[in-house]
Symmetry: C2
Subunit: 223 residues, 2 copies
Amino acid sequence: MTESEFLSRYRSSDYPKPSVTVDTALFTVREDALQVLMIRRQEHPFQGKLSLPGVFVGMEETLDEAAARALYSKTGLRDIYTEQLYTWGSPERDPRMRVISVSYYALVPEQSLAPPEEPALFCPAAEIAASGEIAFDHSRIVACGIERIRNKVNYTDIAFSLVDEEFTLPELQRIYEILLGQKLYKANFRKKIAEKIIPTDHYTSGARHRPSRMYRKKPATAE
Amino acid sequence: MTESEFLSRYRSSDYPKPSVTVDTALFTVREDALQVLMIRRQEHPFQGKLSLPGVFVGMEETLDEAAARALYSKTGLRDIYTEQLYTWGSPERDPRMRVISVSYYALVPEQSLAPPEEPALFCPAAEIAASGEIAFDHSRIVACGIERIRNKVNYTDIAFSLVDEEFTLPELQRIYEILLGQKLYKANFRKKIAEKIIPTDHYTSGARHRPSRMYRKKPATAE
DNA sequence: CTATGATAGTATACTTTTGCTACTTTGTCA
DNA sequence: TGACAAAGTAGCAAAAGTATACTATCATAG
């Protein structure tokens, strides 16, 4: 039997299949806290509960594309920093049927977001992670996202995804402190990120204290 | 409409669904190299090529259970250190049909493995990761596993999963060196892992040099 | 037009970890 | 009993991380 013969005889409908969704946790830092975009469900199951934005994976799209689609439909944003988190496959996680969920997390600066409308809202991520009142296993997904972010802050540049293109060092430091959940020393923080940033000749103004210089992220050097 | 009415009307077959598999990369350190268990495929597609052990996810099992099943069927081992890696969902990754693959990696000490038979064999992981001759996207899965292991070696205890219950420090150090791809200083290495191990009163013997003390891993302390 | 409060930004001392070299110990074997 | 071989230990210098004290510059009040 040749490969093409084999392929033409293969009947994929011979086996039962689970449904596959992509659920996305969009994080931002707002009001001095890490917050996550949640949707209040209008339909069953879990009607009235909070859930993450999600879509069924189309037959012709990649998982990354499905995640981008879910995020775009709720925020209108493209080209967000997005990364796959974990895949959840317990047979009981959805009461309708067997659904396997590939979860993603995404990071955006608060400034690039329009205030969410109607069934969508931002919630403190820590509260969602600790709550027992969240639809499906989405509380665990958020918890998983928080943990992943916290782990990656120190050895990657994900924190820059949460500030605008131009930012001040006190702003950036605040992001780090919120993600890590601890206070950092100003001087040490600056030493550490000095090599990752480029100063501009812009300064903040208006505040009744010394203005803060603005910086940009240095483009990643080739490997 | 109540929730139970809603559920009874829900027709999950209304939507096309991808198939879902679990593919597992079983790593061990053998002959001074990180090696991975591969299967030479007997059937189409990719007949004759190397692939990772994989199974279709059953409708009543979790993903972790499917991974354990795949590993058990090839090695006869249960309770292996196993962790989910990444989920691969490109529509073209399987020529038969749309298949989404949830990949796992697993770590076992060489001593606990029977020599693999027939279509199964161990291959140097770096070669698999670099080869263009591997079935599906399994080469990338192995590459992803190597990277994950390398990242986790320094801030977790996964290296201990690759040695027997009792081990010598030169053995353990060799594991670290192979995973990290670099030589370590004996004294520094010992200082660092001193807190994670418990000495036994056993020693190696037979070699024509000073015997090496054997240790066990200290049970993880409560969080 | 100067004092003050508030935050931006810098200099520096101290502590811990890492990188490295040299040494001592203890077994087997000739 | 001396030589080799790898196990195991001691210690120093450089680098990185931790912590504190200081100076700079704006807006506003008086």
